[in-house]
């Protein structure tokens, strides 16, 4: 400001303008460079991926429709059998959903404890907060397939390894989201409870949980949605359910495509169904908060 009064308004506007333009130019240069780096990364990344793939991108592009077309045409020919096949694979679907549901349930309980023990102000043992946070970080970082494959080796194939694997990852993932919510919880009720001599579990149950329950439930529902997909994928590596049946149906190849089609339909329908249901309930949970 003192500059402006000394040198007069005209010049000051000019300096401001030129410094502004210089700044804009520098900004443009930086964003241009960032964009360039990004484009180069994308292009070279695509090139490497294309190189290391068995079939090339451009060769395969026009073949994308072939497999779905084969499956669909065969399924259409045998469309009368489709309802029967859907009935046949219905138990596998139930298993896939059960894996996801139990894993979500167990994971949510685990995540609840990890989040409460890892949040400042709520933790039972404040010194151990970093420990519980690291535990949930590691649990979150482990892809489900790692645990599932190792457990399949020990426990044999079936739904239990998939369930444990998904539950572990869910606990870690939910612990992070839960503790973000718990950090914003009002501590006054906890203090009030503490003054009456409530134990830690009573403080959490009566002071914290009622505050965070809607958000926790909404995150858990979201997780359930994700876990259904995960449970289908894990089936593909031998952990039972719909994914396992899909792999078998695919291994048979042409002639049994109607079975693959039935499984595709079941999987698609289930995912869309739970997607819609959970998003409706989540909206209700988070909207109800404002009132």
């Amino acid at each position: 400001m003192s500059d402006a009064t000394m040198t007069g308004p005209a010049q000051s506007v000019e300096t401001i303008q030129s410094s502004y333009l210089a700044q804009v130019q520098r900004r443009r240069l930086y964003s241009g460079l960032a964009l360039l780096v990004f484009v180069v990364l994308m292009a070279s990344g695509f090139h490497i991926a294309d190189d290391r793939n068995a079939g090339g991108f451009w060769d395969g592009l026009h073949q994308i429709g072939d497999y779905p077309a084969d499956v669909l045409s065969e399924a259409w020919e045998k469309r009368t059998e489709l309802p029967g096949l859907i009935g046949k694979y219905y138990p596998a679907l139930i298993e896939t959903i059960n894996i996801a549901a139990v894993a979500t349930l167990i994971g949510a309980v685990g995540g609840l404890f990890l989040s409460l023990l890892g949040t400042r102000g709520l933790a039972k043992w404040p010194r151990l907060i970093p420990l519980f946070r690291r535990i949930s970080d590691v649990m979150r970082a482990v892809p489900e397939i790692v645990i599932a494959l190792v457990l399949i080796f020990v426990l044999g194939g079936g739904p239990v390894p998939a369930m444990i694997a998904i539950a572990i990852h869910t606990a870690g993932a939910l612990a992070k989201m839960f503790s973000e919510v718990a950090e914003n919880a009002d501590l006054k009720s906890v203090e009030g409870l503490a003054s009456t001599g409530a134990t830690w579990s009573q403080r959490m149950l009566l002071g914290v949980l009622p505050q965070v329950a809607p958000n926790y439930l909404s995150y858990t529902l979201l997780r359930f949605e994700i876990n259904i997909r995960a449970s289908a994928i894990l089936g593909f590596v031998g952990a039972g359910g719909l994914g396992y049946e899909l792999r078998n149906a695919m291994a048979w190849g042409p002639g049994r495509f109607d079975e693959a089609a039935a499984i595709f339909i079941l999987l698609f329908g289930t995912i869309v169904f739970f997607d819609q249901v959970s998003s409706r309930y989540r909206n209700r949970l988070t909207e109800g908060q404002g009132q």
Binding site: V142, V146, D275
Partner: protein, 437 residues
């Protein structure tokens, strides 16, 4: 307040409490009933019978230790020494571990008084403290021994095969060959294989000592030998991790680039034609609902296995997810800013660029960066199915059912990789958007 009022309030409060109490009991009961049903549906009680605890023990001990096989081929009488019994881990000709001695009679000292002797004529003696000397003769396809009929549970014997498990090591004897496995802690040959001149040389000597290989400088040679280590395949592992991250990167960024323009079509604010809007939304729902698993299966048919297939599967699925969240973000933009920009005479494209994009960029970027981390995990899983990246190496290592030290190594690397991507996406978010608090 009259008495009637009080009674009514009391009644109401009582009812409320009754209902709450009922719910408080009903929810745990429902969960308990469900878990009971699962207990039987998943056959948890039968699990203990199906589980193979021997596998668990092997897995746990092999993941942090290695074994050296001393094998006698009973037909040729040849004796070989190899780490993990693999050709790649064989000791060079004329060299053997220092706990093996003798020429005619090979004495293997397993430690703590456990001694195995390979005698001529395919005879073997096993000396175990506190147990009588075991003598075994291999003939053709059978083995005969002086073992009594009732055996302790650490010895299993039939006419074809004898297995002895001790805390110091394992011995198996069949007609064709006699093998001793000696266990040591640690990951053997992690740095250099036995054929490398740098094996068994300390770090200080490599860095500052005399030149070990006359044709190469120490550091370059050591790095080359480590990088091309045949046992641990550091080069392939590094490539596999890059492939996995590449899949996640290409998939996430590609999806974001495709989803952004489509999101404008799906948002009510910017797309007045209802039919088009509905069609775009259904498209998003469809690609999301089909799920990465089915996309992977379909795309693998067209493009063959490899990282490109995985990247495309992630790309297609996430286009749906991004499309949905982006269009939601676009619906919530502030109209004032757009009006301000259009009051300067901006054309529609400029209105989007300066009025809309700056508002939604933080939401979009944080979403994209979050998915970059979560897709690294997905890419590991998809890689296991479609054949690319660290996921494939992990499944292959698990399928051999013996390279558990490699499995442990890959698991550690995968966890570190995901944590690194988590940190990176957090760092980028802080740089690009600024921290929230």
């Amino acid at each position: 307040m009259s008495a009637v009022d009080i009674n009514m309030t009391k009644q109401y409060a009582d009812d409320l409490f009754k209902r709450k109490r009922l719910i408080a009991f009903a929810i745990p009961t429902v969960i308990l009933v469900y878990l009971t049903y699962i207990f039987f549906a998943f056959d948890v009680s039968g699990l203990a019978a199906r589980a193979n605890w021997q596998n668990a023990v092997t897995l746990a001990s092999d993941s942090w230790s290695h074994k050296i096989h001393v094998t006698r081929d009973n037909r040729s009488g040849e004796i070989s020494y190899a780490v993990e019994g693999e050709r790649k881990g064989e000791y060079p000709q004329g060299e053997r571990p220092d706990w093996v001695s003798g020429e005619e009679i090979i004495t293997i000292d397993l430690g703590a008084g456990h001694i195995v002797r390979y005698l001529p004529e395919n005879r073997t003696e096993v000396e175990i403290p506190g147990y009588p000397l075991i003598e075994v003769q291999a003939e053709g396809r059978t083995v005969t021994s002086n073992l009594p009929a009732d055996l302790p549970d650490w010895i299993s014997a039939s006419s074809r095969r004898i297995g002895i498990t001790t805390p110091e090591g394992r011995i198996t004897l069949t007609g064709a060959r006699t093998e001793v496995f000696n266990y040591f802690p640690g990951w053997e040959l992690f740095w250099f294989t036995l054929d490398s001149p740098y094996h068994g040389v300390g770090l200080g000597q490599i860095l500052f000592g005399e030149q070990i290989d006359p044709t190469r400088s120490n550091i370059a040679g050591a790095v080359f030998d480590w990088w091309n280590n045949k046992m641990w395949r550091h080069k392939d592992v590094a490539w596999a991790i890059c492939e996995t991250i590449l899949m996640a990167f290409l998939g996430t960024m590609g999806a974001a680039m495709i989803a952004l323009p489509l999101a404008f079509l799906a948002a009510k604010r910017f797309s007045p034609i209802m039919l088009l809007r509905g069609a775009t939304r259904r498209l998003f729902d469809f690609v999301r609902g089909v799920d990465a698993l089915i996309w992977t299966v379909v795309l693998a048919r067209a493009f063959g296995p490899g990282p490109l297939t995985g990247a495309l599967a992630i790309l297609i699925t996430d286009t749906g997810t991004f499309g949905k969240t982006f269009s939601e973000a676009l619906e919530n933009v502030d109209q004032k800013q757009i009006e301000g920009v259009s009051s300067t005479g901006a054309k529609p494209l400029q209105r989007y660029r300066f009025g809309v994009i700056p508002q939604v960029v933080p939401v979009l970027l944080s979403q994209v960066l979050y998915f970059l981390e979560s897709n690294t995990r997905s890419a590991t899983i998809i890689g296991a199915i479609t054949g690319g990246g660290i996921g494939l190496m992990l499944t292959q290592a698990i399928q051999t059912q013996q390279n558990w030290e490699e499995v442990a190594y890959y698991i550690v690397l995968i966890i570190l990789m995901v944590m690194f991507m988590d940190w990176l996406s957090g760092w980028l978010r802080a740089k690009l958007i600024g921290t929230k608090d």
